[in-house]
């Protein structure tokens, strides 16, 4: 978070979109001063989902996926972990 705040303009917003995060390190108040805003994202509303899927089709967003059989779900998770 300090890395992101370091380059955030005055009045800018930093959005934290993860459900789990390690402890935020102590940091200089100057990183937050000048009305910078830090806020988290908790879940989503159905309106978010409906709006996004409409926009995703309009743009259109193209996803790149790697598929695994259901029986290899653990391997898929391991693969995901390896690309952290």
């Amino acid at each position: 978070m300090p890395v992101a705040l370091k380059v955030l303009k005055k009045g800018g917003t930093l959005v934290l979109a993860g459900i789990h995060m390690s402890t935020i390190p102590a940091m200089d108040y100057n990183l937050l001063y000048w009305e910078r805003v830090v806020r988290s994202v908790a879940n989503n509303t159905r309106q978010d989902g409906e709006d996004f899927l409409r926009v995703a089709a309009e743009i259109p967003i193209r996803t790149k996926v790697q598929t695994f059989p259901l029986a290899e779900a653990n391997r898929a998770s391991t693969r995901s972990r390896a690309t952290r």
Partner: protein, 214 residues
């Protein structure tokens, strides 16, 4: 892997035959115990795409065979102060797919009909799956950033969103990652891979961070 009974759709629930389910970082947080266990045993997975196979007696929104998606928000109470204020994402009684209720790493899943999404025809099953969390949550983060046309947006630790090419209302985009692997996957153009001490050549108006490191 385990054989478990096919869930029965109750009330306004629909039974979905799963065609694809995305793997999300949150699934790892759940199975590795970084998030407090809420159900055990549990079927993980909250980016579920499938077709409705059966409906509960009070479900009438979709026909059998309709293609739908089940996302993280499984259900809310609909009456609390948050739900009443349009903030159902904060509902204290909310249930979550693949966390407090069984999810989509399975052949079948159930969800209330009001909480499933029609999937646009232009997306295949597997292409649609990652939209249901990486996409929706990323979209909400973008909204909360209040980015304006001409603004510059920075991304940090963008996980499943890493391969996306963001363009939103004329905003400039700077993708930031400490991971050389992620940098390679996401493409070097406009990607900045710093050490913690580095600063980029430009300042950003808003930042969206999904990094796990505080």
């Amino acid at each position: 892997m385990a054989d478990i009974p096919t869930p029965e759709p109750l009330g306004d629930q629909v039974l979905v035959r799963v065609k694809a389910c995305g793997v999300c970082r949150t699934d790892l947080h759940i199975v590795e115990g970084e998030l407090k266990p809420r159900k055990s045993p549990l079927v993980p997975g909250h980016q579920v795409v499938g077709v409705i196979q059966k409906m509960g007696p009070e479900a009438h929104r979709f026909p059998v065979g309709a293609r739908v998606g089940i996302a993280w928000l499984h259900q809310t109470d609909g009456v609390c102060e948050y739900c009443s204020a349009g903030k159902e994402n904060l509902c204290p009684q909310a249930t979550f797919t693949g966390y407090t209720v069984d999810g989509g790493y399975a052949e079948y899943a159930v969800a209330p009909e009001a909480f499933v999404y029609p999937i646009p025809e232009s997306f295949s099953d597997v292409d649609a799956a990652p939209l249901l969390c990486a996409g929706i949550i990323g979209f909400r983060a973008l909204r909360l950033s209040a980015i304006q046309p001409g603004g510059r947006l920075g991304f940090y630790g963008f996980g499943a969103r890493r391969t996306w090419r963001y363009r939103w209302r004329g905003t400039g985009v700077l993708k930031c990652t400490c991971s050389r692997v992620t940098q390679r996957i996401s493409g070097s153009r406009s990607t900045w891979a710093p050490s913690r001490q580095d600063t980029p050549a430009v300042n950003i108006r808003t930042g969206a961070e999904t990094a796990r490191a505080g």
